[in-house]
């Protein structure tokens, strides 16, 4: 019997596995009749999932955790049986900020420590000159973008709450805001960084893969009680998503995947721009400079689809570091419990072998992340709102 499932998503390339699973008929092959609903804000996706207007959603990994902990909003326990993407974001800066950074930089411009230190010098200079602080756009208070920007700049000595302004902007408004000077930089997912470069209004300064080797980005999220009542649907969704992720990662399928994603009712931008992201081959400057990184966005490779609770712990640690919540062992275990490799394994019918890089975050600064000692880990960072 066919089961109807409503799934909300935001038009971003990291919804790829979900969209391809539906549009290539992988969910139908699992006996699911999926309706994908395109949304305009993460708040809408969260609320519609929480109250049951959606059965599942393409969701920012930190929102799934915040919702389960009841931080900033109504508490609704969420579980993630599938990880929709690892990495995939980038930091894009205006041409003016780019030249200011390149004047100050010492060392490799792709090394995030060099750029973060250059940023600290630019910020210091602006302060001395009495110029307005720089403004950085990100997508949501509980977003990987927020934490990645903060992690990067704080490593260079820039306090994200004191030295610059961080503002939430809906992704489709990012490029305009950069063009008209409302922000000096932003951190967002694909395709918006490429769109800014193509329009000549931005330079991609960093791929998130420069900052963190492995960063869980979006998850397939369902309400915990719904997943308990509908284990078969959850398993079918996971299998269809795994199949789609594998399909997307085969290089000769990328063109077809990009065309599916480019549809107006899906992401609605040029297939060519989408394919750049999938291939990890991006134009980073208006002059046409290309930069390649095969780990730009992982959809199915390196076990990307299998939720990794260590990633949830890292995201929770960032919430603590930036004062969004207090540190508590119970909350940590709730956060880690949102990511459910067991549901993934049950769906695919065997215990997936964790890849070599799973369990690791691989940040460019600070000690290796230890989920068992978050307090000890956070003590290593000079800038932050959390005090032991």
């Amino acid at each position: 019997m066919t089961k109807s499932v409503r799934i909300g998503f935001i038009p971003l390339v990291d919804a790829a596995a979900l969209i391809v699973a539906v549009d290539k008929g992988f969910t139908a092959a699992e006996g699911l009749d999926v309706t994908l609903v395109r949304e305009v804000s993460w708040s809408n996706v969260r609320d519609k999932l929480n109250i049951g207007l959606f059965d599942a959603a393409h969701l920012l990994a930190p929102v799934a955790i915040a919702s389960s902990l009841g931080i900033g909003h109504v508490k609704v326990p969420i579980v993630a049986p599938f990880n929709l993407g690892i990495n995939g974001n980038a930091i894009t800066v205006s041409p003016a900020l780019h030249s200011a950074l390149m004047e100050e930089i010492e060392g490799d411009p792709f090394d995030p420590m060099s750029t973060a230190k250059a940023l600290a010098r630019v910020v210091g200079k602006r302060r001395r000159d009495g110029t307005e602080p720089l403004t950085f756009g990100m997508t949501f208070p509980f977003s990987t973008h927020n934490y990645q920007l903060r992690f990067w700049m704080a490593a260079g000595g820039v306090d994200p709450d004191e030295d610059v302004r961080l503002v939430v902007l809906p992704p489709p408004y990012m490029v305009d805001s950069l063009a008209n000077g409302h922000v000096d930089a932003f951190c967002v997912g694909a395709p918006w960084n490429s769109v800014a470069v193509d329009l000549g209004v931005g330079h991609i300064l960093h791929f998130v893969a420069d900052i963190l080797v492995r960063a869980a980005e979006k998850v397939l999220a369902v309400r915990q009680n719904w997943s308990e009542k509908n284990p078969d649907i959850v398993a079918a969704l996971v299998r269809a998503s795994v199949r789609a992720a594998e399909f997307i990662e085969i290089p000769q399928n990328r063109g077809e995947a990009a065309r599916i994603l480019a549809q107006p009712e899906r992401i609605g931008v040029d297939a060519e721009v989408i394919q750049r992201t999938l291939d990890g081959r991006l134009k980073i400057a208006p002059d046409g400079t290309i930069r390649e990184n095969s780990r730009y966005l992982l959809v199915g490779r390196e076990g990307a689809g299998r939720p990794d609770p260590v990633q949830a712990a890292w995201l929770y640690a960032q919430m603590v570091r930036w004062g969004q919540t207090a540190l508590s062992p119970d909350a940590l275990s709730t956060a880690m419990g949102v990511f459910r490799p067991d549901l993934y394994d049950a769906a695919v019918g065997h215990e997936a072998k964790p890849s070599e890089t799973s369990g690791a975050v691989g940040a460019f600064a600070g000690p290796p992340f230890d989920a068992n000692d978050i307090a000890g880990h956070l003590k290593a960072f000079a800038i932050g709102r959390w005090k032991p």
Binding site: S43, N44, I51, L53, G72, V74, F140, P141, D161, V167
Partner: protein
């Protein structure tokens, strides 16, 4: 209701008609301090300047995520702002999300003062959606009629039919193919344009 008691309400909505409908409803109910923001640029700065007690925003508005920033501990926030209802009031959340509106309330505003605002907001949003739905249906019915007239003309000319015969042919084809008569008419127009 005196001016001191009337909470300051900000409506964030890019639809001027819907905002006007809501604004009028709130004024009729005695809420005097109602301001409409339709420009999304510098939204937070404008909201902080107005310092409202209640913010109403439509769910089609991507800037809703901008408002979520107000929950954050920040120097910019003068007063803490909370989601409109407490955890126990799931029915209110459901009704408002279904109506397509969300509300943010400054902490400390009593629940019984919020409820009538929210109820009014939900009913006005629903009324607007109904109105819009009727408008859409009227528009598409008009469109269909135009398309059917053109298709009939083509059939009369090409097949030498009378107007009634052309209509009967359209209708019977639509029934046989389980499609709308407007769709069949449209495909006749498309085909005849291609064969020109």
């Amino acid at each position: 209701m005196s001016a001191e008691q009337s909470p300051r309400i900000v409506i964030v909505d890019e639809s001027p008609i819907r905002a006007a409908i809501l604004q009028e409803g709130l004024r009729e109910a005695g809420y005097t301090g109602v301001v409409h923001i339709s420009e999304m640029h510098s939204l937070l700065a404008r909201i902080y300047a107005l310092d409202p007690d209640v913010i109403l925003i439509d769910l089609e508005n991507p800037s809703r995520d901008v408002l979520e920033q107000m929950f954050q501990v920040s120097r910019a926030v003068r007063r803490p702002i909370a989601m409109f209802v407490d955890q126990s009031d799931a029915a209110s959340i459901q009704a408002s999300v279904e109506a397509g509106v969300s509300a943010y309330i400054v902490d400390g505003l009593r629940k019984e003062r919020i409820k009538p605002i929210l109820d009014l907001c939900i009913s006005r949003f629903n009324a607007f959606a109904k109105l819009q739905g009727e408008l859409e249906r009227t528009k598409s019915a008009l469109e269909d009629r135009k398309v059917i007239e053109r298709a009939k003309g083509i059939l009369m000319k090409v097949k030498g039919l009378t107007e009634d015969e052309a209509y009967v042919l359209l209708r019977s084809t639509a029934m046989r193919e389980k499609k709308k008569i407007g769709e069949i008419a449209q495909s006749i127009i498309t085909a005849s344009e291609m064969l020109k």
